[in-house]
């Protein structure tokens, strides 16, 4: 696509948006709810197409994509979407009204997608549409499939709404196209912190930038989750959180903290995690690793193997040949994370020290899987919230966020809204 074509497409979208806004907002929300029902239904043709096309495009295995979508879209239902609309926007009539606190969307929204996991892309495309802001989306280079399928599904459900979403394909180094795309009235962008910083310089007010930078997730297990059947359940859940999407998402845990347990608990946890990851490798095999990622994986595994010979307590389970790795560490210091099913087990004496250990990561914390803290669990949760975690859940549920999850700690739809407060005479 050329820069000129992008500008033309934005102009067409503005016109389509103007037509859409002549309809009651409820109709648009109902159509979007139907779209989500299609995507959350494993038997819908759209889901089947995505399950079929995504593995080839992204390198994830078919099994992983199927399970990832089943869990990730389970809570993306139409009814939930309508509840979200009511919770965040109030009465949808505010989008049509001419009095009181009125709501509008932007004339156009550019959505710059990143990564290869479909659920965040789906939501990023639908959120501006809930405000009746037409969307021009640049698909992620690692996932050329999802955005186009979502756009097709919307057009299938509601052709007029379908004219309010278009796809802009251009190379990541095509600056002219990027600048043309960023002339949209609102820009929603996902990407590395460096990419977001670069985009921020190009999107000046009054245009709005809704940015999502890099985030990471972790797990923290208290003493009650570090023994007996609870340990197996927690380890199984965390292993699933690690294995789904091959640890590529911001909700993939990179490390598990064993908090306040006996000295052998980290060993038990590492062993249980290793067993669970080995089982999952049979059920949900890891996908293709790009060569640079494979190099990182081996480098960290071999480094752990060497440290294990010198530092009592350090242990490497698995490795490059097994296609997963668990490293039992002896401290809570943050360490490199090569992803692709590489997880560290790190001991920490008590919840206060856990929070201290996480403080350097606070600005980038997304989700924490939490279990086994008994009566102090609320305190730990509060501490993690104060640090900046935007999601706390049970092990095994990290990859199934609710539709209304406050990603980046902010609402889902409201960032795309413009308010006009019409006052009555005093």
């Amino acid at each position: 696509m050329t820069a000129r074509e992008i500008q033309d497409r934005l102009a067409e979208l503005r016109e389509a948006g103007a037509k859409l806004r002549r309809r009651p907002a409820r109709e648009t929300h109902a159509a979007l709810a139907r779209v989500l029902d299609l995507w959350s239904n494993p038997d819908s043709s759209w889901r089947r197409r995505l399950e079929s096309e995504l593995p080839g495009a992204t390198g994830f295995t078919r099994e992983n994509v199927r399970e990832g979508l089943a869990r990730g879209l389970a809570r993306f239902r139409g009814e939930t979407f309508l509840s979200l609309v009511r919770a965040e926007l109030g009465d949808p009539a505010r989008l049509d009204a001419a009095r009181g606190s009125m709501l509008s969307g932007f004339d156009t929204t550019a959505v710059v997608l990143a990564g290869a996991i479909p659920q965040p892309s789906l939501l990023a495309l639908l959120a501006p549409l809930a405000l009746r802001s037409p969307v021009l989306a640049k698909p992620a280079s690692r996932d050329p499939v999802t955005a186009a399928l979502v756009a097709e599904s919307i057009a299938d459900v509601d052709p007029e709404l379908g004219r309010c979403i278009a796809i802009a394909r251009f190379g990541s180094n095509d600056e002219a196209c990027l600048r043309a795309l960023l002339t949209a009235d609102c820009v929603a962008a996902t990407g590395s912190d460096a990419s977001i910083a670069a985009l921020s310089a190009l999107v000046a007010p009054p245009r709005r930038l809704v940015a999502s930078g890099h985030r990471l997730s972790l797990a923290a297990l208290g003493p009650e989750a570090l023994r007996g059947p609870a340990l197996d359940a927690a380890a199984g859940g965390i292993a699933l959180d690690v294995a789904l999407w091959d640890q590529q998402g911001c909700l993939s845990p990179l490390a598990v903290y064993a908090v306040g347990a006996d000295g052998e608990a980290p060993d038990r946890l590492a062993e249980a995690l290793a067993q669970a990851l080995a089982s999952l490798e049979r059920l949900l095999p890891r996908g293709a690793q790009d060569p640079a990622a494979a190099v990182e994986f081996r480098h960290e595994c071999d480094g752990a193997e060497l440290r294990a010979t010198e530092i009592p307590g350090v242990q490497l389970l698995g490795g490059p040949t097994q296609r997963w790795a668990v490293v039992r560490e002896v401290d809570a210091a943050p360490r490199r994370a090569p992803l692709n099913r590489f997880v560290r087990v790190q001991p920490v004496e008590n919840p206060e020290l856990l929070l201290d250990s996480l403080r350097p990561l606070a600005a980038h914390l997304a989700g924490v899987a939490l279990a086994g803290f008994g009566s102090v669990q609320d305190g730990v949760a509060r501490g993690l919230a104060d640090l900046g975690a935007s999601r706390l859940c049970q092990p095994g549920e990290l990859q199934a966020p609710p539709l209304a999850w406050h990603h980046e700690g902010r609402p889902v739809l409201l960032p795309f809204a413009r308010f006009t407060d019409r006052e009555t005479p005093l």
Binding site: I117, H214, L216, G249, P291, A292, P320
Partner: protein, 371 residues
């Protein structure tokens, strides 16, 4: 032999030094094999962490028959372990890897700099100043801090040795206190134009970006004298805007007047005693690739299996460097490479290249956090 020195080590050092000091490089496979196996046996005895690592893999000197079988230590291990083949009390120098003020930096402990210096000089001269006769000097302008300012940087130390052994009086370092000194550099360049020997401008990739940005800000070009050449090394690591190598070289040609054919990338690292250089100046017209001295070997392995890759397949770079007598001779890097015409190329991730997931920056975040 210095008092208290390990006789076995001194004997190995002497043999490696003799090779480094020969006027002509000879790629002697049998000599390399013999020295590599003997050095491995020595380090297996003297460096306990390395010995345990090898034993875990079932490798002992008696079981080894080829240098290719020597277990390689990941460079990242230097962050947490002291990998030296001499007693701690003989440690005389520590070179540290680059990093932020809060991050853990790798440390290479050395009891002598003799091999390091003996290795770097002929490599640099051969690839950057191939036309220089023995005893001749050239102006060497460095975009990096001096070794006096940054005592634990192997790169600064290398530049210091080059200035001392090969540089003319106008040579010097033009990055001080974290700041580039463009006016001083300009003055030195003008003086160098009148000097004998081709000018060499050396520095890290990010220092070149600083220079290019400064010249752009002033609306200037600094056209270097004919025959000038550039040596750049290292990455950007968030210290400047990132540029792909081709884009960097294009900007260098525009602002400094040095074409890509005279820009030599150096591949080296703190943990290595020897360096590898692009072939372009030494072998003009041939494919650009990295070449090393005969006392090194590069092996490319499949990161999934650890087995050597075949042909021109990409693989993880493993370096065997006989200059590393005091630490460990076999190092596994975190870099990906490919064989090219008897040398190799380092395959980097292009700036802006998109990773599969949003978690990919975790390394960067963890590095900032002190990992």
């Amino acid at each position: 032999m210095t008092p208290g020195a390990d006789p076995a080590r001194s004997e190995l050092d002497a043999r490696v030094l003799a090779w480094m000091r020969e006027p002509e490089w000879r790629d002697d496979a049998a000599r390399f094999e013999a020295l590599a196996l003997e050095l491995f046996a020595f380090q297996w005895e003297r460096c306990l962490p390395y010995r345990r690592f090898c034993e875990r893999r079932g490798v002992r000197p008696a079981t080894l028959t080829r240098w290719q079988e020597i277990p390689a230590v990941p460079t990242g291990a230097f962050k947490e372990l002291e990998l030296r083949s001499f007693p701690a009390q003989r440690s005389a120098h520590v070179f540290r890897t680059s990093g932020t003020s809060t991050s853990v930096r790798g440390a290479l402990h050395l009891d002598t700099l003799e091999l390091y210096e003996a290795s770097l000089l002929p490599s640099f001269a051969r690839h950057l100043l191939p036309e220089l006769a023995a005893g001749e000097r050239a102006p060497i302008l460095v975009l990096a801090p001096s070794p006096a300012e940054v005592t634990d940087s192997s790169l600064s130390h290398m530049f210091g040795v080059l200035l001392r052994e090969l540089g003319t009086p106008e040579s010097g370092c033009f990055l001080r206190g974290g700041e580039l000194k463009p006016d001083e550099l300009l003055a030195a360049t003008l003086r160098a134009a009148a000097s004998s020997g081709p000018l060499v401008l050396c520095g890290t990739a990010f220092a070149f970006v600083f220079l290019l940005d400064e010249l752009a800000r002033r609306g200037l070009s600094l056209v270097l004298p004919p025959g000038a050449r550039i040596m750049e090394t290292g990455g950007f690591k968030g210290r400047s805007r990132e540029l792909g190598r081709e884009a960097l070289y294009a900007e260098i040609e525009t602002r400094l007047g040095v074409p890509a054919a005279r820009i030599v990338n150096q591949y080296g690292m703190t943990e290595l005693g020897s360096q590898f250089y692009d072939s372009v100046l030494r072998l003009p017209g041939e494919p650009r690739r990295k070449l090393g001295p005969p006392w090194t070997r590069v092996k490319l392995i499949d990161p999934a299996t650890g087995d050597p890759v075949s042909g021109h397949e990409a693989g993880q770079i493993v370096v065997i460097d006989l200059a590393n007598t005091g630490s460990v001779l076999a190092l596994q890097t975190a870099d990906l490479g490919r064989r090219v015409a008897g040398g190799f190329d380092v395959l980097g991730r292009e700036p802006g290249a998109e990773a599969r997931g949003c978690s990919i920056a975790a390394d960067e975040l963890l590095s900032q956090a002190g990992a």
